[in-house]
């Protein structure tokens, strides 16, 4: 098993080192990713300034939902978000290179990059989650802690599944790749 995974480990290690080597660019990427997280939070806050509660949730309870959803999504984005570059590989013909290598396509695509710059956005999600758990006086019983961790795990898994499914659809969409976009 360890022998089987070794190429991926080496590849990912190289990606991580590559991202660190352009320090200024990496720092800027971290900052923009942080800003994306903060602006999303600001949008929730702007809406809640105008009203006390939406659908039975006040700001503190909405923050708990935000924290869970944002952390799960950004973890998925960090791990597999780059699979949405597939249409570019397809159009440029560089996808053929992946087909020549003796490794599964999806595993190659996922390990083709790791978006460490999105760590700062995960940071925003986790911070909001921690603040929200404290602000909502969630009793920290073993059951609740387990539920929180399980929500993050399954939430990320669901987002990863959707990312991969959307990338798979790109084989048929190509030009219409925006159809599966996660931007408005």
């Amino acid at each position: 098993m360890a022998e089987l995974l070794r190429p991926y480990r080496v590849l990912l290690g190289a990606r991580v080192r590559a991202q660190h080597s352009y320090r200024a660019s990496f720092a800027l990427d971290l900052v923009t990713s942080l800003l994306i997280g903060l602006v999303e939070l600001a949008e929730v806050w702007v809406l809640y300034r105008a009203v006390d509660g939406i659908g039975g949730l006040d700001l503190t309870s909405a923050l708990l939902v935000f924290g869970l959803a944002d952390t799960a999504f950004s973890i998925a984005d960090l791990l597999v978000g780059h699979v949405d570059t597939l249409p570019q590989y397809l159009r440029a013909g560089t996808f053929d290179v992946f087909c020549l290598r003796p490794q599964p396509l999806l595993a190659q695509l996922i390990t083709s990059d790791i978006s460490l710059r999105r760590l700062s956005r995960v940071g925003v999600g986790v911070t909001v989650l921690v603040v929200a758990v404290l602000a909502n006086d969630v009793p920290l019983t073993p059951e609740n802690i387990l539920l929180l961790l399980l929500s993050l795990l399954t939430g990320s898994a669901i987002c990863i599944g959707i990312f991969v499914a959307a990338a798979g659809a790109q084989f048929f969409l190509i030009d219409a790749s925006e159809l599966t976009s996660s931007r408005p």
Partner: protein, 270 residues
């Protein structure tokens, strides 16, 4: 170059951009489906917020927030809030050297093409989304001649302004070559301050002042307000005048920076 020749050249570039936009049918359909999906999401959240506010939210009722939602989605295909442009790519790969050899102004020529391509998106993306808002959301729009004309002018001005500011982002490449970071910064700021997710008018006072000190609300919020009839008569005319003032400012700034940048240009590669 006489004004007539200038106009003819730029009209042709505009038409060429329009035609180019008309070629990407699958892309337009993909964009339409993405915009419509987010339209439903935004509409449900914002209408729920209006209901929670007792039928009123910062001057919006259910009908006007619905109009805001669907118009913002409809104009999104045309107004450039992403910060990306062909010029930024040409700046990086060195083709900019060819562009600068052409006997037309870099700023106005590239903007005319981009605006032509962007406005075409109103046909496959804008109109279906407005129709969806009318049919599903029960949106109503004023259809008297003055409002329509002012609305059309406001859409044109908002789109043009967005591309003029994106041009400024692209030509920063004269100095820093790779402008991807700036493009992302533009995208984040523009999405928020142009009023894409939440109307700018819902911002708290200080943030509202900050937003209106930038050109971003003039790109999206103003066309929405004018077309939806939320602003009428003199107040509509004054926000359109603000749009035109920003366009003039961006034009002048772009000219000055281009002039300074031409002397700095170092083409990468060979």
């Amino acid at each position: 170059m006489s004004a007539r020749v200038w106009f003819r050249i730029h009209r042709r570039l505009f038409v060429a951009g329009w035609r180019r936009g008309s070629q990407y049918r699958a892309a337009a359909l993909g964009g339409l489906i993405a915009n419509a999906t987010f339209g439903f999401l935004k509409a449900s959240v914002l209408v729920a917020a209006v209901r929670a506010g007792g039928g009123e939210l910062g001057g919006y009722d259910a009908a006007s927030i619905t109009a805001y939602t669907w118009l913002s989605q409809a104009f999104l295909g045309s107004v450039n809030l992403s910060g990306r442009s062909d010029l930024a790519v040409r700046m990086k790969d060195g083709s900019i050297a060819v562009d600068l050899l052409r006997p037309v102004d870099l700023q106005t020529a590239s903007t005319a093409q981009e605006v032509g391509r962007a406005l075409f998106a109103l046909l496959p993306r804008g109109i279906p989304l407005i129709a969806l808002g009318v049919l599903v959301g029960g949106m109503r729009l004023p259809i008297d001649r003055v409002s329509l004309a002012l609305g059309a002018l406001s859409i044109l001005a908002g789109t043009t302004l967005s591309f003029l500011v994106v041009y400024l982002v692209a030509i920063a490449g004269f100095w820093i070559v790779e402008t991807r970071g700036l493009q992302t910064a533009y995208m984040i700021t523009a999405h928020f301050l142009a009023g894409l997710f939440v109307p700018v008018t819902l911002f708290p006072g200080w943030l509202l002042t900050l937003a209106w000190a930038t050109p971003f609300p003039s790109m999206l919020q103003t066309p929405i307000d004018v077309v939806s009839g939320r602003l009428e008569g003199l107040s509509a005319m004054s926000v359109v005048a603000v749009q035109l003032a920003w366009i003039a400012g961006a034009l002048v700034l772009g000219q000055l920076i281009t002039r300074a940048g031409r002397r700095r240009l170092e083409v990468q590669g060979g």
